[in-house]
Amino acid sequence: MSDLSLSHPPLRRGSHGALRSGRAAWGLALPSTLLLVGLMLVPVALIILMSFTDYSFGDSSFSWVGLENYQALVEDDVFWNALGNTLRYVAIVVPGAVGLGLLQAVLVHNLRHGRRLYQLLLFLPVTSTLVAMATVWKYLLHGNIGPVNLLLEAIGLSKLEFFGSPDLVLWALAIIGIWGLAGFNMVIFTAGLTSIPQDLYEAASVDGIEHPLDRFIRITLPMLAPTMVFVVITSSITAFKIFDTVAVLTKGGPQGASDVLLYTTYLEGFQYLRMAPAAAMTVIFLMIILGLALVQNLLLDRKAGKA
């Protein structure tokens, strides 16, 4: 559709309307490329190399130790405990935050009045300063005087020592995590719901699918599948990165019950300055994150391929 007289001789048009001009393009991309190499590619390469050494911060030399750091981690109860706690936390937060976000999105989407107000208010935790709100939650969940426990008592249940009990501390952190994440998922689900064509529901009515739950299971959920994949994966990654609430509220306690992967790595690397084991843990963390991203790409590509 382009006017041929506009195309300047040295600037031939490329495949998707792009303009060929190598030097100018690299001039534009250079600052970011340098940052990309200096702040990401080189550090990540160093992390991987470091995980095969015995380097400690401040050492003037190091030697290669092969897989020793990884072997030590495999035999280390602290590491397995931290990994297990992180996975347990993820296993609570992801269904909670995805389910709650979906519920909020569906309820708000079908309203005739007050959509914007509910969205405004339900999204508020996402923008709040988590560290500040964590100190609030610590008291909301306090074993004796916390309003949550007063509520439990009022409805005839017994009080729970959320932060004092090794069995409950991950649940307490998960409540904070779900509270902080549900609104984010709601917004993504809302965008997904908005893009479902209305005539699908009309066609379903013609076919006799009338019950709201039936419509939800047979039309809404399948149409939301790509959004669902995205939300589940991003929620998993966010939950996997849990650090702030542990650093501020529990410091891994009680008795290591809330030690999580990033917090243990942080202590190892930045408090005890044992760089090599910390590097090995970081590599494992990176593998998990990239693995999740890979799963997302495979699932979404397959979906796109089928369509």
Binding site: S2, D3, R13, P31, L36, P43, L107, L122, S128, L290
Partner: protein
């Protein structure tokens, strides 16, 4: 207007309950910042302060710690990071969107790969480099890792791709250089995406605890989350009201930003989903 159906009423009831649970921590934080500590530490619950302490806790908070300084630190870091992110990501995104050049595929592949890699991964080497050059405990140290935003590159590339090539070529015919075309012709059309990214970036860095915790030991450089962590560590029952006053003050700027720029927030979040 149709009357509310049973279904509508049920939806509203569930949503009101969820909204209540979502907002209750904010409510409790503000109420507690206006009531004496002994009221907090009793087992009888009251919705509102029995004794209203006015600004006492806020005055204590400001006297005990340089609250304005903490917020200024947050503002400096957020703005410094945002300016460099925009100045570097925008040209790169433009090159990726509108030029074909050797290595473009590789560069974009690297951007996509790094999109999911968080700060915790390159943290150790970056910390060691900053220590080596004696740059720990500086604003620069707090900002450095975030000068690169692959999310910005990705987002702006999507936006710029929709910009008509004909206008760019017409600008070239008039003898404009590539940088001039970018800043004067292309960027103005991308203002909504830039605003959404700005809000996203400011939120992320105002709230970040991890990196400042690593590179900052000098209290006077602490951004709000690090300051909040100091308070929480030193907290005692006696100044609990002051702790909540500090929490209110340090989280207020972002909440105000959110209430003013809600549309940009939602746009920014939604854009993360259009992959």
């Amino acid at each position: 207007m149709k009357a509310l159906s049973f279904k509508d009423i049920a939806s509203h009831l569930v949503l009101l309950a969820l909204t209540f649970a979502t907002l209750y921590p904010f409510f409790w934080m503000i109420v507690t910042s206006f009531r004496p500590a002994q009221e907090v530490f009793t087992e009888s619950y009251s919705w509102l302060p029995q004794t209203f302490t006015g600004l006492t806790h806020y005055i204590t908070a400001f006297e005990q710690a340089p609250m304005l300084r903490f917020m200024l630190n947050g503002v400096i870091v957020c703005l410094g990071v945002l300016v460099v992110q925009l100045l570097t990501a925008i040209p790169c995104a433009y090159a990726l969107a509108k030029f074909e050049f050797r290595g473009a595929k590789l560069l974009f592949g690297a951007v996509l790969l790094i999109l999911t890699v968080p700060i915790q991964v390159p943290a150790l080497p970056l910390f060691m480099a900053l220590a080596e050059f004696d740059l720990l405990d500086t604003y620069f140290a707090m900002m450095l890792p975030f000068f690169l935003s692959v999310f910005a590159i990705y987002l702006f590339r999507q936006t710029f791709r929709a910009f008509p090539d004909e206008i760019i070529q017409a600008a070239r015919m008039e003898g404009m250089g590539e940088w001039e075309i970018l800043w004067r012709v292309v960027v103005p059309s991308a203002r909504p995406a830039i605003a959404a990214f700005a809000v996203f970036s400011i939120t992320a860095h105002w709230n970040d605890l991890y990196w400042p915790l690593i590179v900052i030991t000098d209290t006077s450089l602490a951004p709000p989350p690090l300051a909040m962590m100091y308070f929480a560590d030193n907290e005692s029952g006696a100044n609990f009201g002051a702790l909540m006053a500090s929490a209110t003050v340090l989280s207020a700027p972002l909440i105000l930003l959110y209430l003013c720029a809600q549309r940009q927030f939602v746009a920014g979040i939604t854009m993360t989903g259009v992959k």
